[in-house]
Symmetry: C2
Subunit: 430 residues, 2 copies
């Protein structure tokens, strides 16, 4: 047993002071005790510190960290998402298992220091550039998982299926290494990682890259194994138009038709989702992951935040291309983007008097944990002891009070206020 | 003389290495020498450091820092800018000269640590809450100027004129302390601050708060004294509608009619400016100041960035309500907001091959200095030695190269990468 005595801790009842956190030897929260009654030398006093649950980064492509700052010059005549994608493919073509390990190790360290204690890694660079598998077909996935372990961040590997270059189009040159030879070969790799004890989920890349004859068995596998299913949809207008042309419906309607919508499904982006699509997500109990810094970078547009909330769809966040790593900035700009779209204030800010608990914090923690199938995201007995320790004396926080501390944090701060980060009961930095 | 030898320095020719900066005893850059030829112990070697010009914060209301995080709960039934303004008026009503000094001192220290070396303080809380002047009518302005001096940041006091509560409407209770008894009384206070040697500008608050019989003498004073004139315009749709109702034209058209547009004029926000208004600004050589974090917070909408650029109107940035202090975030989200509005990439990112120099950096430095009438904002002989020292070994910058260093900084970093800040040849922090 280990005991932490922070000045404040954010529990399901809100901010608590004089609360002792009891952590067992598995790194799980055993109990919250109402008073500081330290059990001798094993109790760590944390004056001037407020503990939050660790942030959950639901959507990361870790290798894209290599592109940071290198895609803002003229890439082509038309400066679009698709030109950016070509630059990303060039970076992907350079990766080796060893190089990917180094890049992921360093990026995960930066991610952890930013307060993310868990990450969903949407991983699609699987094979040799020719498309030929490595001797170990999961060499690249394992490089990432080992980097996560060595950095100290919890990685859920969302192994990506990628079968075609667009609706009914063959793979392009730069996409060969993303693709397995068959859906069975893909599912075998998922199975192997699961058997080896890794945390995994399935991730059919998108309706444009995965045809129905792959999609359906993958969705079935996810149902049978109770694994998360993550999929990109509606990030770009062109994707919606191509889907309409190929199938006479929008991407999320196609997901529904293919049996891919369930409470374990997380749709990444949904920027251009229609009311019909949102209603399908709501009915099936799906989650939506927004990635504000990357969506801003790529010029995707602004997600239909108000409609998502009205439909009762849980929102989570992802750092996606990892051009920025700061959950506070992601959450702040989710809200600010929404304010720009609707030209009013307080879109994602719940009225705490009517409904206690911070919606922005939930997006960054509890709902994210649920989207990855993890027992973390809140500070309560039975959850993993993943914490972010906030330095209450930091100048950015000056003027905070207990009632508004989360808002001062989300709207006024960067990760500079994070003093240390804890994963499964272990202090990882500070 | 003092000599700095950073690893890199951003000059008007771009990044330079092996360049020695020579600073004279007035804190002015005397010369840039092509090689490291340190004059003995007076040369400060700065390995692993890249020097940028200090950032210029063109628009600040320093006391609004007290609202950080405290305006996101339900303020009223309708969650608008105008409800936020009531909360801000309540904060303004509490201020005393002593309290304002303390708040400004602390906020300016935070601002300086964030890399802003100069600030335009748009100051409007002038008198006692009743409207009665203090014994020293500039007591509040001097509190701010002394706080700036003690924090070590350069303050240009943009003394605000405020005469009415709206178009042809009397002052409201909470606005009394903003208003001078007459435009002459106001101009006398400007004159007094100038005579005392402070850096000042005039700031008729807006066309709704200042009638033509005040506006015209203020504009004339600015012309005669060659002082900056700053004015809010087109932040909110309601303001534009009220202006149309009262004068049958938009706010910037009214500014033109009242003789307030010149190369010394900076219009704050211009979020809802029409093409006609932008053409007037361009013709008169005016500057526009955007405030992305505050405009996001207040739900103002997204400025017409592409149209501003096409019209050749210089853009500058301000931290405005000081809810966030980070010039990198302001510049990143100026660009990202523009990408959201236009759903394409690279709106404010100049093609460096066609036209060297970073437009985002110019917005944050050189153009800002011009808007405040200051000889700073670039590292060249004759300019003030105001620098931000970037730590090139910071994990956020990993993977930088010389060609893309500014983009890696603007798109991938927070102010955590700032190692120290220099104002007029003096190291202020680090």
């Amino acid at each position: 047993m280990r005991y932490l005595a922070p000045e404040y801790v954010y529990t399901v009842q809100g901010w608590q002071s004089n609360t002792l956190i009891v952590i067992n030897d598995d790194g799980v929260i055993e109990a919250l005790r109402e008073q500081h009654n330290p059990a001798g030398s094993e109790c760590l006093e944390m004056p001037g510190v407020a503990l939050l649950p660790g942030f959950v980064n639901v959507h990361s492509h870790v290798f894209q960290r290599a592109l940071r700052g290198h895609t803002h010059r003229a890439l082509s005549q038309s400066e679009t998402f698709w030109a950016w994608r070509n630059a990303m493919y060039r970076a992907a073509s350079q990766l080796t298992p060893g190089g990917l390990y180094e890049l992921a190790l360093q990026t995960y360290r930066e991610m952890l220091a930013a307060g993310y204690t868990s990450v969903g890694e949407f991983h699609y660079v699987h094979h040799q550039p020719s498309g030929e598998p490595y001797a170990n077909p999961n060499a690249m996935a394992e490089a990432i998982l080992h980097a996560g372990r060595d950095a100290g961040i919890r990685v859920v590997l969302l192994l990506t299926a990628y079968a075609q270059g667009g609706f009914n189009r063959p793979l392009e040159e730069g996409q060969r290494r993303f693709s397995d030879r068959s859906v069975d070969a893909y599912l075998r790799r998922v199975e192997d990682l699961r058997s080896a004890g890794f945390l995994v989920g399935v991730a059919p890349h998108s309706v444009r890259a995965v045809p129905p004859e792959w999609f359906q068995p993958i969705a079935e596998y996810s149902r049978n194994a109770a694994l998360p299913l993550h999929v990109h949809a509606d990030e770009q207008v062109a994707e919606v138009e191509q889907c309409q042309a190929a199938y006479d419906c929008a991407p999320i309607e196609l997901l529904e038709r293919w049996g891919a919508l369930s409470p374990r499904t997380t749709v990444i982006h949904a920027t251009h989702a229609s009311q019909v699509e949102l209603a399908l997500l709501a009915r099936a109990g799906c989650t939506v992951c927004v990635c504000p810094t990357t969506e801003g970078d790529l010029g995707d547009g602004i997600a239909p935040y108000a409609e998502l909330l009205t439909a009762g769809i849980p929102l989570v966040i992802g750092s996606d291309s990892n051009t920025r790593l700061d959950p506070l900035e992601e959450l702040r700009w989710a809200e600010y983007s929404a304010r720009m779209r609707y030209q009013r204030r307080r879109v994602l800010v719940r009225d705490e008097l009517a409904s206690p608990g911070s919606l922005l914090l939930d997006c960054g923690t509890r709902s994210g944990a649920q989207a990855l199938g993890l027992a973390t995201g809140s500070i309560e007995p039975g959850r993993l002891a993943d914490f972010v320790a906030i330095d209450l004396s930091h100048p950015m926080l000056h003027g905070w009070n207990e009632q508004d501390l989360l808002d001062t944090l989300f709207f006024g701060c960067s990760t500079s206020v994070i003093k240390e980060v804890w994963v499964q009961g272990q202090r990882m930095s500070g």
